[in-house]
Symmetry: C2
Subunit: 356 residues, 2 copies
């Protein structure tokens, strides 16, 4: 990848200075990728970014060769126990305050035994960088969005009564990977019939029936960058109530999108969309926030929820995804990935919004 | 699902009594599924299992309806903040020792503010139950294994020079989901050419070339239960050295499998397989453990590594996966999911071991 990892590290180091952090320990797959280009997958690896100088990546022999081939701008330590070596190096800093990202608690507890170091959960410092996308990042997200649309097209083509939810998801997966996605950005959701009323419905062996709502929520990953989009279909002829819920969701989407601009409070954007659903009598069925940032992670700041204190800024990439979930009846969600730029907002997942 | 969740809870409660735990807080997706049948996906949810009485599941309104429809044997609390409500309920226990599984550190830190409660990371207590599979669990894993074999067959059929790694992975995904897998058990690995020398190679847009090694590592998920298998192929005619590495891996696999039986030390099983590779001059290229348990999680106890203190017991389901990773040259890994039973071991991923 042609990212400027060195500049990212320098920017973090400046923020660390402001926060009084002597070093930063990064663990999440996405943070390691952001600062070094190395994808640790499920491996154990830690990145230590000191206040000055090059980052150090601690890995086992399992990943040593790959790190040498793929990681940028860091020293690499091959360790029997990356955590123990890291802990020793931290002690050598002497009486320091060290930032950490969201480690598993088992790791955090072990790290706390490190002498002379105080750990400060400091996720938000990293998010100040990651939530504002560089041009090259936008290019990759754009590609992930293009691929997601192809996946949705494959679902649309395959859609017919009798098919299993998981079969449909499989068609999307195959098409996205054929187009160059290296993995799904999350397990595709295909939630049909009463299951469409579950915001987190996953996908099952249930067979689609004529006249049912089907929520399809999917995303691709391109060079680690994610996309996220949802369409809701009816196989066959929709009922009046289905059309009503779908149209209300579409109008809420449009109103939300229109409210997005540089400098606006995220809470205000959520409220704009929510108002549409309230006016249409669906307010109490919209049971989640309007959207979230997206990048190397599928869910990241800024969060577009009623209570969010975030403001949208230039370079944010976010989702806009109002939904209506009526227990026993079914649900609707419509979602695009959207770029917030100086000139306004741009939908990156360009695929028709059609119910049937 | 037709699991006996109540019996699982009772068994945990007995172990909690032995450990002096007044309650247990469970967070991981797999633990919630094991004790309630509820799949939280990416949602925030916590399960409190008191020493006596029914478990309590804390969820937001996002999942409330689904929990009512899908969770077994627990009371459900719909909360604005599940963590805050949980914390209040824990304080009400009064001066107690409470077990926790592997929460994210951010959650763990917030929980620690709970008054009059001391938290004890107690994963291993849960693993004592989960690592020994019930008959019904074996049935589901068996199905996940059958589906994984169909995925591998799809890869085998599609394999040809010029195809991208991610395209091959997409074929496997589609076939597994067509067969009823609700998601991949992990993002399929297709690592070709020099990339096959990375144990965690993921999959990329790289195109396969004739005469290269291709490591394909995949698994299905059936009702939450996972499978895991690896084959290594050469597209076209393999070189002598490729054949040599592949045969050595196969022999190590066979020797490892043969060493598996109820009561054996896992470390001994690893050493048996490792010895084969050492004798063939590949010892230093086998840079990971021989296997791991598998069930609702892809990686779980028992761990079959050189230093493992675990013993195999009846009802364990484990992988056997020796590998040879030669930097710059390529790699080989052969893996099956295996059931350890009173009568011996049984390979559950039955698919030919063939190089080309």
């Amino acid at each position: 990848m042609c990212m400027n990892y060195g500049r990212r590290v320098e920017r973090l180091q400046r923020l660390m200075g402001d926060e009084g952090l002597r070093a930063f320990v990064l663990y999440t797959r996405e943070n390691l990728m952001y600062f070094t280009g190395f994808d640790r997958y499920e491996s154990t690896a830690y990145l230590l970014i000191p206040l000055d100088g090059d980052p150090i990546l601690y890995v086992t022999r399992l990943d040593y060769q790959r790190v040498l081939d793929e990681a940028f701008g860091c020293r690499v330590k091959r360790c029997r126990s990356p955590l123990n070596t890291l802990s020793r190096d931290l002690t050598a800093l002497g009486g320091a305050s060290v930032g950490v990202d969201d480690l598993p608690s088992s790791t955090y507890i072990k790290l706390q035994a490190t002498r002379r170091v105080e750990f400060k959960p400091s996720d938000r410092v990293v998010w100040r960088l990651r939530s504002v996308k560089e041009d090259e990042e936008v290019r990759l997200i754009r590609e992930a969005c293009r691929i997601a649309c192809a996946g949705m097209e494959a679902v649309w083509e395959a859609l017919r009564p009798g098919l299993r939810e998981c079969e449909l998801a499989g068609e999307a997966c195959r098409e996205m990977m054929r187009m160059g996605s290296e993995e799904q950005s999350f397990p595709t959701i295909v939630a049909s019939g009463p299951r469409s009323a579950y915001p987190h419905g996953g996908c099952t062996r249930r067979r689609l029936r004529r006249g049912e709502l089907v929520v399809v929520d999917l995303g691709a990953s391109y060079m680690g960058y994610k996309s996220d989009m949802t369409r809701t279909f009816v196989v066959g002829r929709p009922s009046d109530r289905q059309v009503e819920a779908w149209r209300a969701s579409l109008e809420a989407y449009t109103r939300g999108l229109k409210a997005m601009r540089v400098g606006v409070r995220a809470g205000e954007v959520d409220r704009e969309a929510r108002r549409v659903l309230e006016e249409r009598g669906f307010g109490r069925f919209f049971i989640h926030g309007l959207g979230h940032g997206i990048g190397l992670s599928v869910h990241e700041p800024p969060y577009i929820t009623r209570a969010s204190g975030d403001r949208l800024s230039r370079g944010n990439v976010v989702t806009c995804e109002p939904g209506v979930y009526i227990p026993g009846f079914g649900g609707v969600r419509l979602e695009n990935t959207v770029l917030v730029s100086r000139d306004g907002v741009e939908e990156l997942t360009r695929f028709p919004m059609e119910l049937c």
